[in-house]
Symmetry: C2
Subunit: 325 residues, 2 copies
Amino acid sequence: MTSLTMIEAAAQRLQGHARLTPLLSSPFLDDIAGRRVLVKPECLQHTGSFKFRGAWSAVSALDPETRSRGVLAFSSGNHAQGVAFAAREHGIPAVIVMPEDAPKLKIDNTRALGAEVVLYDRVNGESREAIGEELSQTRGLTLIRPYDEPQVIAGQGTTGLEIAQQAAEAGVSKADVLVCCGGGGLTSGIALALVAKAPGLRVRPCEPVGFDDVARSLSTGQIEQNPAPSGSICDAILTPAPGDLTFPIMSDLCGPGLSVSDEEALQATAQAFLRLKLVVEPGGAVALASALYRADDIVGDAVIVVISGGNVDPAVFRSALETLT
Amino acid sequence: MTSLTMIEAAAQRLQGHARLTPLLSSPFLDDIAGRRVLVKPECLQHTGSFKFRGAWSAVSALDPETRSRGVLAFSSGNHAQGVAFAAREHGIPAVIVMPEDAPKLKIDNTRALGAEVVLYDRVNGESREAIGEELSQTRGLTLIRPYDEPQVIAGQGTTGLEIAQQAAEAGVSKADVLVCCGGGGLTSGIALALVAKAPGLRVRPCEPVGFDDVARSLSTGQIEQNPAPSGSICDAILTPAPGDLTFPIMSDLCGPGLSVSDEEALQATAQAFLRLKLVVEPGGAVALASALYRADDIVGDAVIVVISGGNVDPAVFRSALETLT
């Protein structure tokens, strides 16, 4: 179980390796939201998303002998790149298991970061778990789970330690903190950090409409599934259900969830382009979209927004820019 | 004449008002450049460009009574927004004189930042200087020049103080520092800071091909003009000639200039999108383009790049993204 002590220890291990991302703002966004908007841009983190924090935390927490044999991840997205880069910087092997129909750019990027990519045939029912199990046994690789893993949650929680300090410097001690939420690693990690360091800051998960498993789970008090596995442009944060480790933390500490449409996520991506000069992926923009377009569901003079990532396909980004005209 | 003491005093006045922009990097950019590339993204500064630093420095240096009457600037671009925002944050009036054929978005943005916009008829030869002179006399406004002004150069120089410290933290003590250069305020300010604080870091101005007045002036030892006033997509950094104050500083302290084509500036804008998750305007990308595509003209294991701004029209940004396919 992740604790504040673990988050603070992770912050020590990340020091000089992860980026301390700034806290940004724009008077134009304040005008849209009707309150002060402070933005924590994890798209500027190494590999373009917060996932690097959790990956570094987990890899650096392994005992040296285990670590030297290498790590393994199942991912076609931001977690893959985070694990690959963290492994490379530690000088250890990384094996990433990806579906063979994953976008070529993502496969190429993961390889370029030094990882070995093992493809599997998702369509014909080949099991990534079986492949991973065999790799793990024969090569002694350690599996790094994307969110349901205490050291990963601790790494994501370092974002919360930074928010606590940066919000205080900005004079904000009471506000909702909107976090883009998939499996809940980032959301629960930030919530654990803030309840200890800035208890006036309340975390609220933000999701795409139709994939609001976390909001519904918080509402019913038990883990709820999404009806479909895919179908939103916010691919980076689509997970079937909150995690077994992350859900109890969120249930204890988070306020009600918020959800926005794909169109609103694209509009928020365009506002981040125009007003913050940031490249944000639609899934990474749902918290900003919630701040801008769900203002009536938020209370207080200020709101803090965590942008989770910026690994967006150029064609999707162009479609976001088209919402400006 | 701007001195290190003035730059350090400006840094004190900017504390808590200007952003300390981070120093970013990507292994993918290192691969293209063949050396380590460290990027200082002033597109993340307030109002989307470094101009806010100089504007704040100049406005905050005025004596309170003079300042309270307000400030005046001639600009249709980044300097206008920097002055408008600095004035608003000081609670004083700002009047910006713009050509009436300036892009509507820029006029609207400047007004939205609280400035009064006075339009003049550039085409029929109306003189902005005459308009400014009258406003200055009747209303007691102080003119803030865009670069040939000691306190503006001091403000831009605070970027150099940050680079000196951040480069040291990154273990870089000897490198070329590539700076996007128009009139030379940013370039000369950074050069003054670095010669005192990190003498192994040498500033080199970067310009668009055909508008390399600074490079040619450094080469001949006297102020040279550009043959044409416009005609590059890098509009943010097109100035007819280096300034009377900035040129002697650059001549004393800078290495040879570099120049890149509009196409290369667009390609660098696309790389900043893909690898740094930054929105950069083409003029703000010429230093990155120089690092990536003029590698043979640069020496050393590392290069530092200053991105000057990100106020880019969505249509221009879309054309930059098209260079990726």
